[in-house]
């Protein structure tokens, strides 16, 4: 290990975002279903949301002035990492309940881990973000763990 990760960077582990509460609309479901070229009527009609719809519902909406020059919104949950080139990441999602129009859902994101590993061509930084989506009854609807790799 090259010890890339300072105490300050590691101190961000456990940081949590402000909960975000959004309403699911039939129109949003239909737009998402069309944009993904879904072929099933229940999604195209917006009766129920297809899996992965939570990405659409909770993608960060930030002012244009807060986008970086490449058009990406800066994730306020993350510290400034000593490596910045993003590599492939992975997702691990559990679907607990279907999502329907009229549902109010709240997402909370937590930075759950930061660690480094030696890669073939140099050190790699991994970080993990857990997103929990709950209904107004506080029951889990979707759990999503994202792992991202920087080199």
């Amino acid at each position: 290990m090259s010890g890339l990760l300072s105490e300050d960077v590691l101190s961000h582990i456990g940081k949590q975002s402000e909960p975000r509460r959004e309403i699911v609309t039939r129109r949003d479901i239909r737009k998402y279903a069309v944009a993904t070229n879904n072929r099933q009527a229940k999604y195209l009609d917006g009766d129920v949301a297809p899996p992965l719809f939570h990405l659409h519902l909770f993608w960060d909406v930030v002012p244009l002035s807060e986008l970086s020059p490449d058009g990406v919104s800066i994730d306020s949950l993350l510290p400034k990492f000593p490596l910045e080139k993003a590599m492939a990441g992975g997702l691990d999602i559990t679907y607990h309940k279907p999502i329907k129009p009229g549902d109010w859902l709240t997402a909370t994101r937590t930075l759950t881990n930061i660690y480094e590993k030696a890669g073939r061509s140099g050190p790699l930084i991994f970080y993990e973000v857990l997103m929990e989506v709950r209904g107004d009854d506080d029951e889990l609807v979707v759990t999503e763990k994202t792992t991202r790799i920087l080199r």
């Binding site: 944009a35 993904t36 659409h56 993608w59 909406v61 490449d70 990441g89 997702l91 691990d92």
Partner: protein
């Protein structure tokens, strides 16, 4: 879904051709302004890609869709693990598909290994999906 799942069986594959319009609508629906998906000079000259990069989560969506179409109303997806290993570019035709790797008749839980691959047969997006079949009572 017609036949009962058996370990080793392949589900019907699907081809996906993502053009500029679908790519624009998809990223707009997410609210994703990343230039590599719609700004050709930026994608090729600044980032060095051979073309416009298909959004990673769209390929993740196709993994879900190929299984979800196979399930129809006979079950629902309960989880997925996948990673985006290799990029796809607007104008390419990619194929999604999968194979049943486990099936528990008692619980109705089925596990499939799934993929999106390109015309060169490279797996771009490997994954594992679990689903629960509604059991006939």
């Amino acid at each position: 879904m017609s036949p009962a799942p058996t370990v080793g069986m392949a589900i019907p594959q699907r081809q996906h051709y993502c053009d500029e319009v679908q790519q624009m609508l998809y990223n707009a629906s997410l609210w994703n302004g990343h230039r590599i998906h719609f700004d050709m000079p930026y994608a090729t000259e600044v980032e060095g890609y051979p073309g416009l990069v298909v959004a990673g989560p769209l390929m993740g969506d196709w993994l879900h869709q190929v299984v979800d179409e196979w399930l129809g109303d006979a079950g629902m997806i309960t989880g997925i693990e996948y990673s985006n290993r290799i990029a796809a570019y607007v104008g390419e035709t990619v194929t999604s598909g999968g194979t049943v790797t486990a099936y528990d008749e008692a619980t109705g839980e089925v596990t499939l290994e799934v993929f999106v691959k390109n015309e060169r047969d490279e797996v771009l997006t490997p994954g594992v999906i679990t689903a629960t079949l509604t059991l006939a009572s």
